[in-house]
């Protein structure tokens, strides 16, 4: 049995407290009036130059909010009002990015876990308890995300422009989509997605524990197999719709048909990386002696492979839009390349080039510190990936990694560590009832 060390508990609580304080101060220090924005911008006049030109190209929020005013917006108060809205969005958006990022890690692990059952994989059962513990974060993480989504869907904050009735009034495109993009439908769908995932999580973990107690006839294992196969069907539809709702609708004019897959690749690789990191941490603390470096090797292969899969999808989306150069589509990437050059291209280096080169060699995949190093870079890269998907439509060119971004990450990191490691203490680290556990223990490559 794993026991949560006081140091780790304290560490995660400190992270949460520091993150919480930082986030509150992020909310409190957002400018309230146009005058404050002017003062702030005078202080940072290095920024000033770029604002005027890029203003008109602003995709989501800007065009709809101030569509008619855009022509004479430059220089006038409209511009400052616009920046004010972006800065007011900023703490909300950073809260959203961090909440979604840690939630998607747990969701990726849940999908990976279900695949292990559905595929009757023989190598992975020694890692099941780690996976079950990570998915424990789905409960608090999902509830928090649901609250944020409900607030956004009913326009308490201004994250989703389609939730603003004043914007929709003047926007024929969003009006056409309002059958899907409306607060009520949004919340109902979120409840269905989260409900389904949590339901599977609940029963999968329950059956896994029961299988430990009574392995005769593999009764519980067979049930796990069935619900896992069913869940995967449910998941691939709901995950896709979730990505439209929760991410793609930030830019409601724009759409991409492979967006669901793209988000899936991101959450899958983040989840697998987290399994590897937590397993290596537990091994370093003397737990999980039954995990050998072939298991780590396999996880690292998945990290490598899914990183490349992510790049493949990213590029498939990018190249077609770049090539055809249709204004309504290409605006998505123009915003990102012009205003988000560093995170946009930096993310490619972190999510593709770095894991490609570091994890290519077979031997390096068995060296723990290589896997940890690659894993940390991959996780940071996928945080930036989510950041790039959310921020351009919510804060536009007024982005910077400031107190609220860092605090939101710390807050959810603390919560994540706290929930996951507490969940690890709830059951023995070896799922001893699993019929493939012996094969998994002797797994070697």
């Amino acid at each position: 049995m794993y026991t949560l060390s006081n140091r780790l508990r304290l560490f995660s609580i400190i992270l949460m407290v520091v993150g919480g304080i930082g986030l509150v101060s992020g909310f409190l220090t957002t400018p309230g009036t146009v005058e404050e924005v002017k003062e702030m911008m005078a202080a940072h006049d290095a920024h000033g130059g770029g604002h005027g030109e890029s203003h008109a190209e602003e995709s989501g929020h800007g065009n709809q909010n101030h569509g008619e005013a855009a022509a004479d917006a430059h220089g006038g108060d409209e511009h400052y009002k616009h920046v004010l809205h972006q800065l007011q969005n900023k703490p909300w958006a950073s809260l959203y990015v961090a909440a979604f990022f840690f939630f998607m890690i747990a969701l990726g692990v849940l999908a990976f876990y279900a695949i292990q059952f559905a595929a009757q994989a023989g190598w992975s059962p020694v890692l099941f308890r780690v996976m079950e513990a990570i998915t424990a974060y789905l409960v608090p993480g999902g509830i928090i995300l649901f609250v944020i989504l409900a607030l956004s869907g009913f326009h308490v904050n201004h994250l989703f422009v389609w939730a603003d009735p004043k914007v929709v009034e003047h926007d024929a495109l969003i009006q056409g989509k309002s059958g899907w993009l409306n607060g009520t439908g949004f919340i109902i769908r979120a409840a269905i997605f989260l409900g389904g995932w949590l339901l599977y999580r609940h029963f999968a973990v329950k059956y896994s524990r029961l299988q430990d107690e009574d392995a005769t006839g593999n009764k519980w294992y067979k049930k796990s197999f069935k619900i896992s196969a069913g869940f995967l069907v449910f998941f691939i539809y709901t995950e896709s719709m979730m990505s439209w709702d929760w991410i793609m609708s930030f830019d409601p004019h724009w759409f991409s048909t492979l967006f669901g897959w793209y988000v899936f690749a991101s959450l899958f690789v983040s989840g697998i990386t987290t399994i590897a990191l937590i397993t290596i941490y537990l091994k370093s603390k003397g737990y999980m002696e039954f995990v050998n470096n072939s298991h780590i090797h396999d996880l690292a292969k998945f990290m490598f492979g899914i990183s490349i899969f992510w790049t493949y999808l990213w590029f498939s989306q990018f190249m077609l839009i770049w090539y055809s150069n249709i204004p309504e589509e290409v605006t998505y990437f123009i915003t990102r390349i012009e205003d988000y050059k560093l995170p946009f291209f930096g993310m490619l280096a972190m999510n593709f080039i770095f894991p490609l080169l570091v994890l290519m060699n077979s031997d390096f995949k068995r060296v723990n510190w290589f896997v940890v190093m690659a894993g940390i870079v991959i996780l940071c890269g996928h945080y930036i990936d989510v950041y790039n998907m959310v921020m351009p439509a919510t804060v536009g060119e007024s982005w910077f990694i400031g107190v609220s971004e860092i605090s939101a990450v710390l807050l959810f990191l603390g919560l994540f560590l706290f929930v996951v490691f507490r969940a690890l203490t709830k059951a023995p680290l070896l799922a001893k009832g699993n019929p493939y556990i012996e094969e998994s223990k002797h797994f070697h490559y």
Partner: protein, 179 residues
């Protein structure tokens, strides 16, 4: 000069694996093992060094990537400048997304084909090559271990081999060939 080798035949891969380990533990030199199918872990048991094919594959991939870049740069930018996707920038870098599929394909093409050719050369396989395996049954259901008798006592070696479960043991005077 003739050298003596002993051919021991086995009919099971697990028995063969144990035999290889025992013979190596007694410090005899195993020249070669002929099997009808790849036996997992046999290379490790025989103490063969790790393959360097992966390194060659990486290098061939780099060559393929370079060829693709130089080729596309010459064809699409220098020799006959193309207006790609309505963006007549005539710069390789700015048009790079259009070339990525070719860069990828040629990397894979070079890595795969040259790696296979390297593998054949390294294994001394080419068209019309005469088979090296000493016993036809190793292409069907038998496993053959070729042990170098050298200066060892042939009788102790044969008794060791029969203890390991060999179904047939032959002492062969082998003409020195030059492979």
């Amino acid at each position: 000069m003739a050298s003596k080798v002993i051919h021991a035949l086995y009919i099971d891969d697990d028995v063969l694996m144990d035999a290889v380990k025992k013979v190596r533990a007694e410090h005899y030199h195993i020249e070669e093992v002929f099997t009808p199918f790849p036996v997992h872990g046999l290379d490790k048991a025989m103490g063969l060094p790790h393959t360097r094919l992966a390194i060659t594959s990486f290098m061939y991939g780099c060559v393929g990537l370079t060829v693709a870049i130089l080729m596309m740069n010459f064809i699409m930018i220098e020799d006959w400048p193309q207006d790609i996707g309505g963006k007549p920038s005539f710069s390789y870098l700015e048009n790079m997304p259009a070339f990525v599929p070719i860069m990828f394909e040629l990397t894979v093409f070079f890595a795969a084909h040259l790696m296979v050719i390297t593998f054949y050369m390294r294994s001394r396989l080419w068209p019309f090559k005469e088979a090296e395996n000493p016993d036809l049954r190793t292409t069907d259901d038998h496993f053959l271990m070729e042990v170098d008798a050298g200066n060892h006592d042939v009788d102790t070696l044969t008794s060791l081999l029969s203890d390991t479960g060999a179904v047939e043991i032959k002492v062969i005077d082998k003409e020195e060939d030059n492979h």
